[in-house]
Amino acid sequence: MGGVRVLVGTRKGAFILTSDEQRRDWRVDGPHFAGWEVYHVAGSPADPDRIWAAPSGGWFGQVIQRSDDGGRTWEAVGNDFSYASPAGEHQWYDGTLRPWEFARVWHLEPSPTDPDLVYAGIQDAALFRSVDGGVSWHELAGLREHGSGPQWQPGAGGMCLHTIVLHPTNPDRMTVAISAAGVFRTDDGGTSWRPINQGLLSDGIPSPAADVGHCVHNLAMHPARPDTVYMQKHWDVMRSDDGGEHWREISGNLPSDFGFPIAVHAHEPDTVYVVPITSDSHHFPPEGKLRVYRSRSGGDKWEALTEGLPQQNCYVDVLRDAMAVDTLDDCGVYFGTTGGQVYGSADSGDTWQPIVRDLPPVLSVEVQTL
């Protein structure tokens, strides 16, 4: 079977959008887990029929569900995310220290090669690993315990580990992002960690160039060039060419360098996508025009992609995990909005069409190329 499967997490359930390689006609299945907030749905690259979902809610807590038939049926797997050691304390909004406390799973990152290996980023920020398909979870506590944890503080959405980037060939290297702490990397499979935020400048913290405290919103990497990492920070679009050791700004001519998601073209490591948002207090596109911006030069020079997207009276947001690409020859790009639209482009962003318009607010979008 060819084609694509778009996995959509929303405030009120998960949806699965499927199409053939033409990506013109779509089938919409769902809601799965109706009424649950689904922060993320992710499929295993090693076994596309295996999909994990992370439904949660204020009433009944966090559950993890797994499908082994491409999303047709689901069964519960493990949902015990107990910290591996005394949880310690982190900064709270009022400057006091507050104990680490599990709130929810933000992101699931399946291994590219092992269908039983999957990572979970949670709030309060920590990284968990499962080697049995999600049945049991174990914290990689070296991240939380490496030393800077007491300086971490929550962003507006909570103190969450929301981005996990696995190196494509070196299983010992992982890079994660935490709001509002910054980027951290391990080179020994998750045992030891260090912050890698050199070059980030954040005016909203007391020391703008501090080692930790940066509100990094999302990271993206092309597997063919793993030393190049792109970042959408709270403000500023950034780039590193040494695996995150140093960062430089590539915002260039963007109408706003505030935003949430960032993605890289499947076949062009220098082609990058962002969705500019007006500001941290105005979570909607500048001028009410929903525009994806594409750089074909790895940043600095950006072009607006507007064909098929609303260019007036549009005041939706696009959240950090709500943009993804497929790997078909003509790369498809997809994103979801807080207004419940999921847009897709089958031509690298030149033109867009709404796949579905009236879902609950979209929290995440992932794509499986089948």
Binding site: G35, F60, V63, N79, D80
Partner: protein, 97 residues
């Protein structure tokens, strides 16, 4: 002891079960929830916080027109629940305005 239990829709989705089920359990809140979790592992951690073992704040336990939520988890359930004439209702609290 068999106890009738009514589950809210969010939990029925996970357990793939009917609105009302019957469990063999000790006739206490703890006994009933233990039995539910054993029979439906998908519901582990949804009624009680797995870290604390305490009832989740927005989960309520009603029976016989009474709110039993704040009673000891080891207190005996009402006789009408024990004799099967009334179910124990597990309810997602009204919240949200």
């Amino acid at each position: 002891m068999t106890v009738r239990v009514v589950l809210p829709s969010h939990l029925r989705q996970l357990a793939h079960c009917d609105r009302e089920l019957v469990v063999d359990a000790e006739a206490t809140q703890r006994g009933v929830i233990d039995a539910i979790e054993q029979r439906y592992p998908a519901l582990r951690g949804t009624i009680r916080d797995p870290a604390t073992g305490r009832r989740r704040p927005f989960v309520r336990l009603f029976a016989c027109g009474q709110d039993l939520s704040h009673e000891s988890p080891d207190a005996a359930l009402p006789s009408a629940v024990v004799d099967g004439s009334e179910p124990l209702r597990i309810v997602g609290a009204m919240a949200g305005g």
